[in-house]
Amino acid sequence: MKTQTLAQPLERGVASTSTTSRPSIGSLLRRPEMGSLIGLIIVFAFFSVFGGTSFLTSGGAASWLNVASELGIIALPIGLLMIAGHLDLSVGSVIPASSMMIAIVSGHYGAPIIVGILAALCLGLAVGFINGLLVIRTRVPSFVVTLATLFAVAGLTLGLSVILAGSTSVALKSGPVAKLLLGQFVGGKFQVTLFWWIAFIVIVGFILNLSRYGNWILAMGGDQISARNAGIPTERLTIALFTGSGLCAAFVGLSQAILYNSAQVAAGQSFIFNSIIAVVIGGVLLTGGYGSVVGIVLGTLTFSVVNQGIFYTGFDANWASLIIGVLLLAAVLMNNTFRTMALTYAPRAKRGTRS
């Protein structure tokens, strides 16, 4: 875990010395995200061969894109948090909590859907805010803090749902506008969440690459003490990041409730792990300080293709996990290997001639 903390990104630094300001093909090939892209292409090629034609149809594409879009909306803020040196496990219970919130408010009590949506989003905001506040006030590691809120929110959701709705699963009938915006299958196949994901990618990409906050996040993850010394409001930034991940988790939760017309108390746990996996595959350092939005998106896609592609192959489903494991390793390996390769064949700039 520590070795490549330095090795990989430094090589990147070297690579970029030889990139000129207008992007050449060579310099594009040497961008660090290329590795992740190659990883994705490899697993995609694998399933194109073994998955037969149905994997390549629009239905097949919808299959992994739909999964990727929900996972991706969670993975983006989790990725930002991880770059900033934090983890958020509580998303695993914010998703079902906000599902239940909208289902109880608008389904069980019959309030207008917009009220339910707002209530669910507020819930996400509140949990995120509490996480952030606890992390900066108590200085307990965010892993432990969000673990505690994971349990606490799950418990509250279950207890309150049973009291309020008398059941652990509540149906939700939403109107056409809500369906159109949040619960639609475009062309009968693509979840409308996909477009939301694209919107989130643009926003988070803007934050990380173009706004000054991106700089703050990278600096905070790189060295929190130096970042604070440099005048970055690390505390407010931490709260903002946790609030963001709470909000995104709530968004996924409420859109799932609208899409599937019902909410269950026990959903969402798989997102905890899967979002971390997607982000790490995308090249973000678990220890913070380094990562890119393009990487997170590619990592999410790779993980989704591997997870869903398997159902298009003729392989016995009993072996699915084995193939997922091997492909994940292959994708990440290719990622690393390719990066090294690109660097070795890069044009050499004699130092003697440059000074």
């Binding site: 739909n66 059941s167 699963s169 599937y260 159902f311």
Partner: protein, 302 residues
């Protein structure tokens, strides 16, 4: 004047839609128990990852609290029977419910068995499919390897074979568990890949919502019929609308309610029911009886 019965109920996760109904039954029966000075305590595992050992631990936990009676499911007999025997050895009245059947109850020296049987319920579902002329049914297992879900799928397969069809299991990797979209897309993929599939059965009501979604996305609504174990409001709504064939109901509320009530009356008044086993299912909910079922579901009891 009795001192009341201290009853321990071992069951599934409290947030599991199925088990929350069992729990509601137990809690409702528990209201009378506590009025009579007793108590009902629900013990459930955090997750199903380590089911047999965890459940055995729960039985021992119950026993260490000097219970007047214990109710528990015999999910993994090899792992749990030893603990159940310890309960019986301590002269604590025991009822097996939900899983294990009368055989297990007899072997362990339990008073009675209350519930359905996963396998028999599965067979009933398989036969229903055969009756509605489905030939190739996929059993979607989101908890592959767990004893109860495995026997559900096995039952469906055997029921169908009797009727001349076949059923295969589609085990989904644990990375999909609890994520309706991932489950839906996996099912859709299976439908696109094997176009001869004309029936789907899921192991829980939540998965049925995903499966219904998958069928729409695969554009196979007119061909693929959907059945499920257990049910919720959306499931029944679909049965009412005609987009789902049936749900296999084992009336979980009754399992909890009856088990607690029987043990309470036994401890307090020495009453015992001669009917053994007490079967709560399987019942099939389809278009013919869906209306009556809906009310119970809304109350969280079905």
């Amino acid at each position: 004047e009795t001192k009341g019965a201290k009853i321990f109920v071992i069951g599934g996760k409290a947030d599991d839609p199925f088990w929350s109904k069992v729990k509601k039954g137990a809690d409702d029966a528990g209201k009378l128990v506590s009025e009579q000075g007793g108590s009902v305590t629900w013990l459930g595992p955090q997750n199903y990852d380590n089911l047999g050992p965890d459940a055995a631990d729960l039985i021992r936990t119950a026993l260490s609290q000097k219970p007047d009676a214990v109710v528990g499911p015999d999910w993994v007999p090899e792992a749990m029977d030893e603990a159940f025997k310890a309960v019986v050895d301590a002269k604590v009245p025991l009822i097996i419910y939900n899983a294990g059947g009368m055989d297990a109850a007899k072997k362990l020296g339990a008073m009675n068995y209350i519930g359905s049987d996963e396998y028999i319920a599965g067979v009933a579902g398989g036969e229903y499919f055969a009756k509605s002329s489905s030939k190739n049914v996929l059993c979607i297992n989101t908890l592959p390897g767990a004893a109860n879900t495995e026997s559900r799928c096995k039952g469906v397969a055997d029921g169908l074979t009797k009727g001349g069809g076949k059923s295969t299991q589609l085990p989904l990797p644990s990375t999909s568990f609890g994520n309706p979209t991932a489950v839906a897309q996996a099912i859709k993929a299976a439908l696109l890949k094997d176009t001869t599939v004309d029936g789907l059965v899921t192991i829980s009501a939540g998965d049925a919502n995903s499966a219904a979604n998958a069928i729409t996305q695969a554009g196979a609504a007119d061909k693929v019929k959907l059945g499920t174990f257990d049910m919720d409001e959306s499931t029944l709504q679909r049965i009412k609308d005609g987009t789902q064939l049936f749900a296999i109901d084992q009336q979980p509320y009754l399992q909890g309610y009856l088990a607690v009530s029987l043990l309470n009356t036994y401890v307090n008044f020495g009453l015992d029911l001669p009917t053994k086993p007490v079967l709560t299912g399987p019942g099939i909910v389809d278009a013919s009886n869906v209306e009556a079922t809906l009310n119970g579901v809304a109350a969280g009891a079905r």
